[in-house]
Amino acid sequence: MPVEPIQLLERVATGDEAALAALYDAFSPAIYGVVLRMVEKEEQAQEVLQDTFVKIWRNARSYDSGKGRPFTWMVNIARNAAIDLLRSADVKRSEMIRPIEDHVYRIGCDDLNMDLEGADVRNVLTKLRPEHRDLIVQAYYQGYSQQEIADRTGSPLGTVKSRTRAALQELRTLLKDHR
């Protein structure tokens, strides 16, 4: 990467459109890949992606490098937008008396097997122990809090917390081997 993302964000904060274009080129595929795994339709993912970069443009000056990596900040903007979309879709669906669990189950299982590019990481996720994979899917791709996951799975909150830690350590090991 020729220019550090932090510097690009700083330039975006000053109103530099070229810096935004560079950030887009560098990170939009990774962000799009995450969002595609979260929402139901490609059009929704595209909408979320566009919305995300407009928000990055507007809020670049509020990015605080002391609080995390630029990618984390950006992808979480996208994930929040996607989660809001999922929640409103769930509400609409429940209004049609279709159980929310249907949808959650579908995301949890099918979406990880979506035939997308970057199948290698999909393989990394599928290599995780099932309880770790389920946890990351619920936390990262479905946006559930630790308490919500504890309630949904009937596990104690402490178990969810320690399992989150173990899941990430397993993921990190798998990614290290993967490189």
Binding site: L20, A21, W57, G66, S88, V91, A139, K161, L171
Partner: protein, 270 residues
Amino acid sequence: MNADEIISSGMLEAYAMGQLSGADARVVEQACADDPRVRAELDQIEEAFELQAMAAAVAPPPAIKAQVLQAVSAEKKGPATAPPVIPITRDTKAPRSWAWLAAAATIAFVVSAAVNVMVLSELKNVRVELARLENDRSVLAEELQVQRASLERSQNMLAVVSDPRMQVVALNGTAADPAAKARVYWDKERKAVHIDVLQLAQAPAGKQYQLWAIVDGQPVDAGVFDMGDGTAPIQAMKGIGNAQAFAVTLEPEGGSVNPTLEAMVLIGQV
């Protein structure tokens, strides 16, 4: 919580995924500022998510980039507005859709409460109605009891009156009570005697009417009887197998061994 505790707690992972509430997020941010080891651990966790996302990247349609840049440049030309701050952690405020759900739940609760009140009120009405019906039922049961007894008396009377073996002896008033009138139904073979009083003055207090059978000129006690409400129109008396006449006298309560002839009010020959 010290650095090691925070590192091993799973909080950093949750923070990276935007799962932490404001207070917990501040704990993590403070720990990152205080201890480089925490900061480094968080960075590695974030890097894991980043690597995962990079490896699973999907190129978006080219048109999106143009739309983003167009939107951004339109905003730049427009009036400058203070940009709202977007925190790195997920906004804990519920999305609008949840507000609708909450509103729907509130409406459902209010409707449910109203229905409960209505049902309770209805239940109270039903209980009152039930008590009323139960009262009616017991009144009717008493009534039925009375009617049954009355029917039984009537049937007994009818059985006596319609029995072909019964001999009817008409008793007429004496000088003591000329208007008096009665009938004795007598089944000689079965020694059954019944009296049917048609007209007779009320017995004074302390006195009762007594029926006698005249057998070979001698009076034989056939029992005392009452009159008025609660008494059968035709009353069974003591059994008599042989008699030439029947007579009724007014005697002290409980009857007498020998009739007071001066007090004879009814007499009739068989």
